[in-house]
């Protein structure tokens, strides 16, 4: 892909970005927002709503250079292909389709309720064995969530296995790639700090998806720690064009910590993303003053950001500065 490798300049990256957004093929968010907001005014929008997903995918972006960047692996001699313009367009479309699959967002779920059902109590077995026995149903064709796994305690109680025991047993008998029976030491809080200092947030989130189920406590804890660290050090660009960006935005908007992200977007001249972020904020917190004003006066673009900065944000000064710098840059570029 030497021809694709030449797509390094900003102009062509912009062209790709525009093509990518057009090819997303989603409906325009404003229209969907009006319909959904009208129907479910009292229900809080969830992560899986189409309007929310559209906004999050738009904000994630699609930088093909980052999605298909070279990874450290065993080196092979490079392959070169000569393509016509039409073939190049087709290859780009195929790459964008593949990138969209790679950027599917992992689900954001609540923590699963613990399992603690007792099935039987056989006092006659009390004291006979010294260890627990775990019985796993190994039928190949049933999904893992429907698999019965029970534990016989030494005191004779037969209970259902806890979630951790279930995950361990299923990994032993039906091993999945990238998952270990005992999770790595990296996932403990004291070692997460080391990983964050090396700026490997995307790696640790990918490892987390491989190792844990999306509704387990460890998965949620690691994701929250990663998002907190990114927000603390303003390293938002690490997750842009990855499948984790949507989850991070959802987390920040729910906790009203969007100021840093907004400033970062304005610095990088992503005004569309900034307006999408504020739109999402208004969807999730419709009772806030900024949302009411925006709906009354039908604000768009920079005005929306200014109203949001004045009413809802804590770092109003920084946002104003960033907007000023952006406007000056636009003025000079249009003037010259």
């Amino acid at each position: 892909m030497a021809a694709l490798g030449a797509w390094g300049t900003a102009v062509q990256r912009g062209r790709l970005w525009g093509a990518a957004r057009a090819l997303w093929g989603w409906r325009r968010p404003q229209r969907a927002l009006g319909q959904d907001a009208g129907k479910k005014k009292d229900a809080k929008p969830s992560f899986t709503d189409e309007a929310v997903q559209n906004l999050l995918y738009k904000m994630t972006g699609l930088d093909l250079q980052k999605v298909f960047r070279p990874v450290k692996q065993e080196l092979k001699p490079p392959k070169y292909k000569l393509l016509t313009e039409a073939q190049l367009e087709e290859a780009t479309k195929k790459a964008i389709k593949e990138a969209k699959e790679k950027l599917t967002m992992p689900p954001v779920l609540d923590e699963r309720e613990p399992i603690d059902d007792v099935l039987a109590e056989d006092k006659i077995l009390d004291g006979i064995e010294t260890t627990k026995y775990i019985f796993t149903d190994l039928t190949y064709s049933i999904p893992h969530r429907e698999r019965f796994i029970v534990v016989r305690e030494p005191n004779g109680v037969l209970r259902k296995a806890t979630w951790e025991e279930r995950d361990r047993m299923i990994q032993i008998f039906f091993p999945k790639e990238g998952r270990r029976v005992i999770p790595q030491a990296v996932f403990k809080d004291e070692h997460l700090v080391t990983v964050f200092q090396q700026d490997r947030h995307e790696d640790i989130l990918n490892m987390c998806i491989a190792q844990f189920e999306p509704d387990s406590a460890d998965y949620i804890r690691i994701h929250h720690r990663t998002y907190d660290d990114i927000e603390k050090h303003a390293k938002y660009d690490l997750l842009r064009s990855t499948r984790h960006f949507g989850g991070m935005v959802w987390y920040l908007v729910n906790r009203k910590k969007t100021d840093g992200l907004l400033i970062d977007m304005i610095h990088r001249d992503l005004l569309d993303d900034a307006t999408s972020l504020i739109t999402l904020y208004h969807m999730l917190h419709p009772e806030c003053q900024s949302a009411k004003e925006a709906e009354e006066r039908k604000l768009q673009g920079v005005d929306l950001i200014k109203v949001f900065a004045k009413t809802e944000s804590q770092k109003e000064g920084y946002i104003q500065l960033a907007l000023q710098a952006y406007e000056e840059a636009m003025a000079t570029s249009t003037g010259s």
Partner: protein, 242 residues
């Protein structure tokens, strides 16, 4: 005459024994082995003090003596294995310290007593990993002995486990299961009526009244051996509490 001389010598020797009971030729500095100038064995070497970097091996790689010895090159750079013939064997030697003795030309890690293979000194471990492909060098490339190579593999795996070293993560697609559904294996099952009512699990865990015809049959069978009690509890009645 000789006897008298011999007796005098003995008396002199006995006189010298007035000390703590040791003979003259046995006195020396305690702790130091006596010098044996005419012995054919090699003199015992003084044991080396333990390395000051044993607790924190990563500090050695920042020190001046490391910089002087190795500079910017890895520790194995310039090491040449000693072997017979032009083609080196496919495995390096098993260990550099055999029965407490060092071999001639020890491997790059064993020759420097301040280098310790620990999962925390990442700089040393990095020198044994290819910077381009991320794979660990074969011992024939670096020259380390097989024992140190095994320790290196363990330490590198541990460092990757703790997040200190880079590790290649395969792409795992997002799970598509339905997480909202709670099939009976993972959902709530109502407890059995015995558990909620607080009764025993099997009815025969508690004492039950036996059927009267069985009692009558047993009485008939063992009527010659029954205790003669008037109005007492029937034999085969409630067992003693366990």
């Amino acid at each position: 005459m000789a006897l008298g001389g011999g007796l005098a010598l003995l008396r002199a020797a006995a006189g010298a024994l007035r000390g703590p009971g040791r003979p003259l030729w046995g006195q020396g500095v305690p702790g130091v082995p006596p010098s044996r100038p005419c012995s054919a064995e090699a003199p015992p070497k003084p044991s080396e003090p333990p390395s000051p970097y044993k607790e924190k091996p990563w500090e050695y790689l920042e020190s001046a003596e490391y910089q002087e010895a190795y500079g910017d090159k890895p520790v194995w750079f310039g090491y040449r294995r000693h072997h017979k013939g032009a083609v080196p064997p496919r495995h390096t030697r098993k260990a550099c310290l055999r029965k407490g003795k060092r071999v001639g030309n020890p491997c790059p890690i064993c020759r420097d007593r301040h280098l310790f293979v620990d999962f925390r000194n990442v700089k040393l471990l990095d020198q044994f990993i290819c910077p381009h492909s991320g794979s660990i060098f074969h011992p024939t490339h670096t020259g380390v002995c097989m024992k140190q190579h095994k320790l290196l593999l363990k330490a590198i795996a541990q460092a990757q486990d703790h997040g200190l070293l880079w590790l290649r993560i395969p792409f795992v697609p997002v799970p598509q299961d339905d997480f909202a559904a709670r099939p009976p294996a993972v959902g709530k099952t109502p407890p059995a009526p015995q558990l909620t009512a607080g009764r025993a699990w099997y009815p025969w865990y508690d004492w039950q009244q036996p059927p009267p015809d069985a009692v009558a049959r047993l009485r008939r069978l063992y009527k010659d051996y029954l205790r003669q009690e008037e109005g007492g509890p029937a034999p085969g009645g409630a067992p003693e509490a366990q």
